[in-house]
Symmetry: C2
Subunit: 245 residues, 2 copies
């Protein structure tokens, strides 16, 4: 009884680790959100594919656990990493009480890393990852984390910066960051990382505050040392301050 929770990276295919590909190939049943299932289907050698729509995560995880308990070798695929805002935790909660089920988490390249690589090296020093979705987290908690990250000068990566119902959340987040941070702070957005139509743009925090985002956007906010070098966003590790460069 084996259930793999697999992070497939930003776009599947080339962005998967060899471990993720091998785990997928070992399975006879593939479970996931339809978009992610389609990304990895060319690498899947089994025949059973089960999907549930968005916001049906608990159903999806229950289905994966039930399939594995019924004797199938199951791959539950997640975009990016299996853990970071992924299904790994929920699978472990749903599988509680079934010690006979072997759950293996296969990590993947989350959007903070894949988006950073598109931009340069914005997260090369201490950073915080914050989701702006208040579906499962009160906005006050999100606001407190934004404030703390700004005050302690973390570089920040924002997931889920906006959706149709939350069109102004990125603007609200920027307003909080601007309480502490310079309006000239180097920021960037990346859209459709690793997929068709990938695009990115470097801009100031002031500009970011007026920029629309959607659920395909990942946002990067520099720390006070972040700069633009040859069109790339770079947060130094401190070698310059050390006087050695």
């Amino acid at each position: 009884m084996k259930l793999y929770v697999i992070g497939i990276g930003p776009g599947g295919g080339e962005d998967m680790t060899l471990r993720a590909v091998n785990a997928l190939k070992a399975c006879d049943t593939l479970v996931g959100y339809p978009v992610y299932v389609d990304l990895v289907k060319p690498l899947f050698e089994g025949e059973r594919v089960l999907t549930t729509p968005m916001k049906r995560e608990i159903e999806r995880c229950t289905m994966a656990v039930e399939q594995a308990l019924a004797g199938h070798t199951v791959a539950m695929v997640c975009s990016g990493d299996a853990g970071v805002y992924g299904m790994a935790g929920l699978i472990l909660e749903v599988a509680k009480g079934h010690p006979e089920l072997d759950v293996e988490i296969v990590p993947g390249v989350t959007a903070a890393l894949s988006g950073a690589a598109v931009l340069g090296a914005p997260l090369a020093h201490d950073f915080a990852v914050i989701s702006l979705s208040d579906l499962l987290t009160p906005w006050e908690t999100i606001a407190a984390r934004l404030r703390a990250a700004a005050q302690a000068d973390f570089a920040v990566c924002l997931y889920n910066p906006a959706s149709k119902k939350r069109a102004d959340y990125l603007h609200r987040a920027c307003e909080i960051l601007l309480e502490t941070k310079s309006p000239q702070t180097v920021c960037a957005i990346v859209r459709n990382i690793g997929r068709q139509g990938e695009s990115s743009r470097i801009l100031t925090l002031e500009q970011l505050s007026q920029t629309p985002a959607d659920m395909f956007t990942t946002v990067f906010i520099g720390n006070s040392m972040t700069k633009v070098i040859g069109g790339k966003m770079v947060t130094p590790r401190g070698y310059e301050a050390r006087g050695t460069l």
Copy 2:
């Protein structure tokens, strides 16, 4: 003129993405710290291998840039991700003034993600990544970030928790976290992620404070919701609070 900065994941081999493997295979010159070079050598098809010892990062990056400018196709390999405390930023700084050089950053699975997968899902909600090394960052900055992360209830992943010269840094960090966080907070350490002798241990923040660490250790500190489920460390995304599980 092409220079790839490649994140090879925690242990190289199976932990690399297909993109990283393909980039490595396209190169005739391999540059890196000796341990990481050895991890990927079986996949490298060129003949020129150049290494520099630890703490000689600027030399290493300068060497990689010079080789690429001389016409070689160069792979600079980094453990984990290319950006997170990696060489990508330094390469871009060193390559400044050479727009003819094509630098491509290939992201990889950083220790925060690979260690999390070993433990369960400790970083499934907002988290902060902090290095305890004060070689390039003043301790006051590190302490302020620890304090901010604790106060805003981030899950936290600590890199470089100790070294021979900094034997008590993890203890000092825990003391700061304990100003705010419960001594019963669920924490964990993982050693040698993805390599021979990989091991992990879940423990309380109070116990962590008395636990030795070394440069092969990655440390995870839960938020106030983090719990142990079937021997795994899980930070919920909030489905339970929503009353749907």
